[in-house]
Symmetry: C2
Subunit: 300 residues, 2 copies
């Protein structure tokens, strides 16, 4: 089993009530793969500009992530500048410079096309579909999206949804896509759009998974130290799809455990600035926290 | 084991996106006892005005709740008028008329004083303390509070917290009381103020229980049909303290299960207008939903 992530590699400027960092490594594909690497063989398809420090790709490679086929092009790397205020429940985007990612049309290599699992990180539904078209015979396909595409390319998004096994979407976006007030009704409606698994992300409030007819609501891991939510959603998806890929062919049993591992992995992400919570992490630490998470429900 | 609830009995005017009802039975003590009655012997200490329809007390009595010692006084019954908008995450209070509840000084009867468990529903900390003073030898004491008292009588509230075993508080209020952004840090800080059990209520996002050193986060029961959140918090508390009372002396094991029953019981409350979700409910329906709730976590 192997997992391909198609998505952005970025340089981020982040400010939260706990601090500020400029030009740090970021992007959906980065957070996703830094989380997924604990569970499976991860390959990244993405693009960076000439300004992208070589040390960042070296750092990902040193952590076992295959970034050997990331494209490098004239122009600037995708850059996101954002701020979290108060209880950090949502980011305020100060600036986005798409750079080389804006015009990127993924051309997957034979190695990338052959992956058994694929995650299409947030980008335009047309770019996601273009990558999906190139996959040989994936066992499991997952995608993320955002409000922008629900508003600007609903048709393209619906077309994509009819083709993927799993969608990650946050609660506000689920309500936009499904036009219901109850998240449970939203989740069921989105399952009807195609993906047999829909995972609604609720930030500090956890998630709800709709997996066929089953519903699994999970709280976030109750961590005291939340300093930077950047990458929480992508590393959550990385934990989920990564664990699912490591577990082989998808099943209802592995879906529940994948959601648990997603939850726990994301809790490490938010405990440090940028990728700091994932950089030095070990599988043993994740397993230990997962065991603690399961134990919390003892006696229920 | 027996449970005394000290709190408001009200007439409510409620409007939500799903409908509107005027002058319906409400109040903290009503929702609490309608939930707690499934698990234990419940007595209510409260006060109503001359305008209060006799049928309401008869209805509570018919459901096994001891309202025989509820006081009746000249003046008007407590009246709350409120509205829930959009996703119904919070109520907008249009009007509050305290009526006879405003000046009420609880004078407990011998039967009320002898209860093993007591719940002090939201009212001024001084009123709550006055009731607590009269209890003979309670095994378990719990209280609810609100932002108003954190702002206006913090000293009185802290004094009360040093005397109760359990506090119910919503997430926004927990952040006001503890001045932390992380709910986990807030919960731990409030445990340090006295109650060995602190339960932070998060509405549609569930709850987090701090029970001694243990933390248990639980999602809400994922129900599709949410039409009126009125009374959700009080019936949640009723499920918790009611189940705990029925289970005898408090223990870490019964605390987890109490939280589960609280969660499930509150999910029935929000499924109908006013007390409609609790009125015709049976213990068998609660047990069935509790079993379904537990099953959701299978495979984790």
């Amino acid at each position: 089993m192997s997992l391909l992530c198609v998505g952005s590699i970025a340089l981020d400027d982040i400010e939260t009530p706990f601090g500020k960092m400029d030009g740090v490594l970021g992007g959906s594909a980065v957070y996703f793969s830094l989380a997924a690497r604990f569970f499976t063989d991860v390959r990244v398809a993405g693009i960076v500009g000439r300004d992208f420090p070589a040390k960042h790709l070296d750092g990902l490679a040193a952590r076992g992530i295959d970034v050997s086929e990331v494209e490098r092009s004239e122009g600037k790397t995708f850059r996101w500048s954002g701020e979290y205020l108060g209880d950090m429940s949502g980011a305020t985007t100060r600036a986005v410079e798409l750079g080389v990612f804006g015009e990127w049309k993924p051309k997957l290599t034979p190695r990338q096309r052959s992956a058994s699992h694929v995650f299409l990180a947030n980008s335009s539904p047309r770019t996601q579909a273009a990558a999906l078209d190139q996959m040989e015979s994936p066992v499991f396909t997952a995608a993320d999206t955002m409000n922008l595409w629900i508003e600007r390319d609903r048709a393209g998004l619906l077309e994509l949804l009819s083709r993927v096994d799993c969608l990650f979407i946050n609660d506000g976006e689920a309500r936009m896509l499904a036009s219901k007030s109850s998240l449970v009704s939203c989740g069921r409606e989105i399952v009807g759009m195609g993906p047999s698994t829909v995972i609604i992300k609720k930030g500090e409030h956890g998630s709800i998974m709709f997996d066929g007819g089953r519903i699994l609501p999970l709280p976030a891991f109750p961590a005291a130290d939340v300093v930077d939510p950047t990458g929480a959603g992508d590393s959550f998806a990385g934990g989920f799809v990564g664990f699912a890929s490591g577990a082989g062919r998808p099943s209802p049993e592995s879906a529940a455990r994948s959601l648990g591992y997603a939850t726990v992995t994301a809790s490490f992400t938010v405990s440090r600035f940028g990728t700091g919570g994932l950089d030095g992490l070990s599988r043993a630490e994740i397993d230990e926290r997962y065991a603690a998470f399961r134990r919390m429900f003892t006696g229920l």
